[in-house]
Symmetry: C2
Subunit: 405 residues, 2 copies
């Protein structure tokens, strides 16, 4: 089937009956343009958090299968209400749960991964000229049990559906207009990008830009799904995420800032095989996500390893790392919070050496000390004191002339 | 499988996390007695009403398929929470939606009827020594769409499950201790009945005793499912509803009173075939439930027909009946509210003539005018002024010596 558009509306866009009606009108307008529309919806507003809170009133450690059973109701409510709104405006529509569509996942409750999607029912309904509303964030496993996809789940549902349906576009409708060169609340002359590559978007997503979840960008990249980020509150064109090579003159596409950062270091670790493995597998076993990792040079057979984590994991990390430090007979551990990660991202960086140096120079001019540095092909990230971060972002936006992009 | 008990907990019993935990403890205690337990739960407290209200904020006339999609979330939330509570107390448990069990219904959304139940998954889980929690009130149709069963739905789910599982008992746990000879709020020396026949229970249910929905009693009767009504707040034995013939000396088992009554009459209707059909099909087409129906004798080729309806349907009934009256060229219509239906019920009545007469005598002694009379094999109902109804109930309880039952 041609002309398929998958749209995804987040929780904010469907937080009230009024907003649901607005979304319904918008979808109907798109339908009038002759599109075959599949809509993925999240739970209304704070519903998911409220349900988790309810579960915690029952038990501090809710079993994950039952938590998924509970959480999946949030999206089921939104799809029913959105379908009602659309039908009341005279347009044929049907809502479908993940079970009804056949969105099959693995068995890992609360963070399941999509394995396969059956397109039969959706295509059947589209062929009846109906708008199809699908519950995001959920799936079913081989036992016919309900699973949920974890963070970024609804975006992932939308991208996965766009992929299996060969949609011409997967639109992620959200409360921002698109992807900006920097957070407009920090940099007042930041610009909305018309296009961005998957790779850049992925880096930005991981760097704290809340626009798209990295997981959905990764999936879109892998299956070549054209993605658009746009506002659900106005009709403006958003930012298209594609595979297109950008013109060479765009070296840096954006500056990002993640303030939710703490640093942990283990120093004087005997430098031998398996040390890094021991440290980071211990953290992973405790469910702690690690971001930047830096290992300094070895001196006298000993090395220092630093890494960053989300602020809220600092206590847990401290416990784990102290234990590991004893086992490894390292000299000790240190921790620091109140930090921020400032990054520049751009696919053009690969062909332009010296970009990192210009970044370090800019920070030096501001007298900002850099605590850690990591780089990738299209990104340079520096860990700095949190209270200097916004200043750094503005300076970098300026230095790389992003206001003229 | 032997030793299966099906328990059903209503919305009041699971209205808060605290109550859900109490219910969980109760179920675990029963499990320790060696029972195989299937629990049917309703939505928490007023959830269903809240969801309906939410739907009406979207549209005044929500499409029934989507309404079912919405309402079914209420029970899904309760089964997940109850399963969490039970699991957190160390007992193996699993919650199942109607779709996961395979509770198949017809296609009539919002008041579907159960056609078939697949016992495979439930028995499989019971064989793993798990408690099985099933969502009441819901089913799926041949298209894999979610349906709801309408009023009395969860009771019906429980009875239907008890039937297909050959359960030794279907316990309906509610906020009353059992079935009483009369409403204890009206008659202070009313007695809880140890047993009652399906037929008596059915009459009482239709007569306004809120304990059990007539539909579930009918189903239990049809499939010989032993039913017990008992309190969810204490461990006392309730009332068993069975096929057992009662001893002959119990002529009247209970007095019931339904205050939600209005009367409508159409008078001077040409007495010809199809008149009653026209009147009552017009009402049915408008979704108005009619209770007592009385047609008086024909005089001069004309007849009068009276019937009772729920108070809240009076306006709608008035509109419909006026239209029908014009079409039938009857002499006119009258309406009256502020009425109550007082009934006596007893399987022993069949063999004891004169019971109705004693009822009329009792009302006469109180100077209460009877507006309508209907009778069945095991029931006599009189329509009286609402403000005299409680007095009538007390007098009848007294006359038939129900305090000594």
């Amino acid at each position: 089937m041609d002309n398929i558009i998958v749209q995804k509306y987040g929780g904010t866009s469907v937080a009230t009956p009024e907003r649901i009606k607005n979304v319904a009108m918008r979808i109907i307008n798109l339908k009038k343009e002759g599109k075959n529309i599949v809509v993925v919806v999240s739970a209304m507003g704070d519903t998911t958090d409220d349900l988790i809170e309810l579960a915690h009133q029952i038990t501090s450690n809710p079993p994950s299968r039952e938590l998924d059973m509970l959480l999946a109701t949030g999206e089921q409510v939104s799809i029913a209400l959105l379908a009602m709104a659309i039908e009341s405006m005279g347009q044929d529509v049907i809502s479908l749960t993940a079970s009804q569509v056949g969105i099959y996942t693995d068995n890992i409750h609360t963070r399941a991964r999509i394995m396969d999607i059956n397109t039969e029912r959706i295509l059947e309904e589209l062929n009846k000229d109906r708008i199809v509303i699908v519950a995001g964030f959920q799936g079913i496993n081989e036992f016919n049990d309900i699973t949920t996809l974890g963070r970024g789940g609804s975006d992932t549902t939308a991208v996965a559906l766009a992929s299996v349906l060969n949609a011409e576009m997967c639109e992620i409708l959200t409360d921002v207009d698109g992807v900006y060169t920097a957070d407009p609340r920090i940099v007042f002359n930041s610009k909305k990008l018309d296009t961005i590559t998957y790779e850049e978007m992925l880096e930005l997503a991981t760097l704290g830009a809340k626009v798209l979840h990295p997981r959905s960008v990764e999936l879109a990249w892998q299956y070549d799904v054209p993605l658009m980020v746009r506002s659900s509150f106005n009709e403006g064109e958003g930012t298209i995420v594609t595979n297109m090579k950008l013109e060479n003159d765009r070296v840096v596409s954006g500056v990002a800032c993640d303030k939710n950062v703490a640093k942990a270091s283990i120093y004087g670790v005997p430098s031998r095989a398996g040390v890094a493995y021991k440290i980071f597998s211990a953290l992973a076993d405790n469910g702690i996500d690690v971001d930047m990792i830096v290992q300094n040079m070895t001196r006298d057979g000993k090395t220092d390893i630093s890494f960053t984590i989300a602020k809220e994991n600092l206590n847990e990390t401290s416990k784990v790392l102290k234990k590991v430090s004893e086992e490894l007979e390292s000299d000790g551990v240190t921790f620091e919070s109140g930090l921020a990660k400032v990054s520049i991202v751009g696919a053009g960086m690969i062909n332009h050496p010296g970009v990192a140096a210009r970044m370090f120079e800019a920070l030096y001019e501001l007298g900002i000390n850099i605590e850690l540095i990591t780089t990738s092909d299209i990104k340079v990230s520096c860990l700095v004191k949190e209270d200097r971060a916004e200043e750094a972002v503005r300076k970098l936006h300026d230095v790389f002339e992003l206001e003229n992009i």
